[in-house]
Amino acid sequence: VTDAARQRALRLAGTLSGIAAGAWLGAAEAPTKLVTIGLAPVVVSLVMVIGVFLGRWSLPALLHGTAAVREEQRRLPHLVVWAVLAGALWSVANTLTVYAIRDIGLSIAFPLWNANSLLGIAWGALFFRELRGGGARAWGLVLGGAAAMLAGGTVLAVAGAQDSTPQDAVRGVAAALAAGAMWGTMYIPYRKAYVSGMSPLAFVTFFTIGEVVTMTTLATWLTGGVGPLLTALDQARPVLVFLLAGGLVWVVGDLFQQYAAKYVGISRGIPLSNTNQLWGLAWGTLVFGELAGGGASRGMVLAGSLAMAGGAALIALAGPGTAEQAEWRRAAGRESARYGLDEAWVQAQLTGQGAPPVRTRSALDWMIALGALAVLGWSVTQARAPELAVAVGPAALLIGASLALLVAAGGLLWRVTRGQ
């Protein structure tokens, strides 16, 4: 295989990963819609994050277990800090969105925080030399695509929102902007991990630790202490399984987002995975019968969806060329020099050609995986069937499409990089 052919395959794998990330991050909303009892949003977030954590430590524990994670931590100790930081950023941003929606409504809040993709593009260019050397074509396609997606996403948010009157505009805008700044900045750690040669599964491990610790702290504070939080979790028992399932689906989406950040960079990876809004909307309208409004809102949904899909297509066409790849290698060289990493090793990791990670399964790995599965199994026994009409046909179609993307993106990643 020639170098150019390999680069093309990596580009395709990264782009497909971004598209698959959108499908799975969007599908993660579906199980939470089955929760019809009133729960504090922060409790919903906490249980989903616990699901993400359990998802990481169930089956992947046997693929990339404690030995491989320890090995990466020994080799790249500094990246543990960044991964935990990214998890903390995600949790605080996610909590802020709850306040933004409360104070200004989804239709105003959404475009404010979804501008995170533009911030991500800026960080990518500034810190990791993304889009440099790509010329006007790459800049035009990526910025034009991201702008089209932002506009489409805004139209979708306006069409779907059932807003109450804004309560506190200043606070709501501040919360939404802060959430966007945090989500856009969260991708600095993502990209930093990959220009230093870390593997996505190891990064996600430390990320989920930062996420679960921050979210537990926030939930304890916001519900008024350990006692009230435990009471709230106990009340949530019949629906735990749906929220945990949402977390399990989310972690698949996030893993694809990691591969997209690795192989096409954050400037393309973030906007591509922001198509999750489209998938979330499809689940809401087709499966759960939301948006029963008139023709005007249907027209808006169609226009917004087309703008979003068109923007994503532009970005998919803007794959990094040879000159930009050279700039990426320079960014990786900076990391190697600063942190004393073996440059040849980093470059091999960056193109998915490194030595395969340690694949030993210790007793500890089996115990962790069985423990995670036991918690998930227990939540099933506690579940009560939701009283909600679900359109089975469209659900099967969306599940089928998501699985097809999983197989296509996952299969290509495996063939080209062995999952590195």
């Binding site: 500094h78 960044w82 605080v92 501040a174 945090m182 600063r338 004393g340 990493l341």
Partner: protein, 36 residues
């Protein structure tokens, strides 16, 4: 092969650390404020 340089010192002078840290602190401050 472990990194040869002291990564803590390298990290402390890395702007790619301080940008996310400051954004996190700023976001936490906004959260405290909006929570009231």
């Amino acid at each position: 092969m472990p990194p040869e340089r002291d990564w803590r010192r390298a990290a402390l002078t890395d702007p790619q650390l301080w940008v996310p840290v400051l954004v996190l602190l700023g976001g936490l401050a906004v959260l405290v404020w909006v929570h009231g």
